[in-house]
Symmetry: C2
Subunit: 155 residues, 2 copies
DNA sequence: GATTGACCTCGACCACGCTCGAAATCCTAG
DNA sequence: CTAGGATTTCGAGCGTGGTCGAGGTCAATC
C-alpha cells in the first residue's frame, strides 16, 4: 500500500515534493480529515488560496501545512473558528496590523491560561472525591459512602 | 428589588431554609440558569428527585445544591452530560458500585490532566509566536513578519 | 478505451449542550 | 378577589464544529 518508491532525486519520504501534496496526504500529515480540511478552507481559516492542479485538485505546499498546523493548535486550545478566521484575515491583509494580531494572540493566551487555572481549581474537588473513594475502598468500609438521601457526605 | 427582609428566626441570608429554595434561587446560587437546572434534571443528572411543593414547584435543599455543584464541576472540566448521568446512576443505585464510581472519576481525572498537558504543549507554539510578534514590534521592524506568500517565517 | 480510486462541490445532516417560547398553573401582595 | 410575577411542561430552535452522501470529474493503471 504505502510503498516507498526510492527515487534518486527525492529527499526523505516526509519531505514535501515541489508539486505539493494531495488533500489526502495533507490530511494524514495534519491529522485532520479531508472533510475538515475542506471545511476549514470554506470557513475562511486558510490565509492563502490553496494551490490547484490544472484539473482543479488541491495541492498543499509547505506553507499551507504550516498554517494549517497553526490552526490546529489554535483550535486545540479552544479558539473558535471565528477567532481563527479573524486572525487569518489579519494575516491575509498583510503588513500594518501586527499589533492587532498580537492583541488577538495575547488575548487568547490569557484566556487559555485563565481556563487552565479554573480547570485545575475544579479538578481539586474531583481529586478530593477520588481520594475519599480510594481511602474508603482501601479501608473496606465503602458502605459509609454517600447514597441517595443516605447519611454520609461523599457523593 | 433584592430586599433583605431580616427575620428574627432565620440564620444568615445564605442559609437554606428548611422549606428549600425555589428554582430561581437555586439558579442564582449555582450560577446555572433555571432552564439549565430543569434541563439537567430532565437529562438525568440529578441523583434524587427534586422535592416539590404540593403545587408542583421544585424546592431545592442542601443536598440538591451540593450535588448540582458537583455536576457543574464535572461539566466545567469537560465531562459530557452522558458521563455525569452515568455517575449519577451509579450513585443512585446505592452501595455496591463504589469501585465503578472511582473508576469513572479517576478516568475523568486522567483525561483532564492529559488534556491540560496537551493544552500547555499547544500553548507553547502560540506563546512562541506571541514572543516573536512582541520582539519584532518592539524592534520596530514588524515589516519582516509573515504575510501571504511573504518571505519570512512567523505567521 | 475502460476501470478504479481519489478528488471535486454542494447542501444536508449530526451531536452536543443548552436556550427559548407558548400556554397553563401557582401563589403572594394588595 | 384579582393582578402580577414566578414556575410548570413540552417541544422546538440555536450555535458550534464538524461529518457525510450524492452525483460528477480527474488521472493513473490495465
Amino acid at each position: 500500500m504505502v510503498e516507498v518508491n526510492p527515487q534518486p532525486n527525492s529527499g526523505p519520504v516526509h519531505a514535501i515534493p515541489p508539486v505539493g501534496l494531495s488533500i489526502g496526504e495533507a490530511a494524514r500529515r495534519t491529522g485532520l480529515s479531508v472533510h475538515t480540511l475542506r471545511y476549514y478552507e470554506r470557513a475562511g481559516l486558510v490565509v492563502t488560496p490553496v494551490d490547484r492542479t490544472h484539473g482543479g485538485r488541491r495541492r498543499y505546499h509547505q506553507l499551507d501545512l504550516e498554517w494549517i498546523t497553526i490552526c490546529t493548535r489554535l483550535r486545540a486550545t479552544g479558539m473558535p473558528i471565528k477567532g481563527i478566521r479573524r486572525y487569518a484575515e489579519l494575516v491575509a491583509a498583510g503588513r500594518g496590523n501586527e499589533d492587532e494580531r498580537l492583541d488577538l494572540l495575547e488575548a487568547h493566551l490569557d484566556h487559555v491560561l485563565a481556563g487552565i487555572a479554573e480547570l485545575q481549581e475544579n479538578l481539586k474537588l474531583i481529586a478530593h472525591k477520588v481520594d475519599i473513594y480510594r481511602g474508603r475502598l482501601a479501608a473496606g468500609d465503602a458502605d459509609r459512602l454517600w447514597a441517595p438521601r443516605g447519611p454520609s457526605s461523599a457523593p
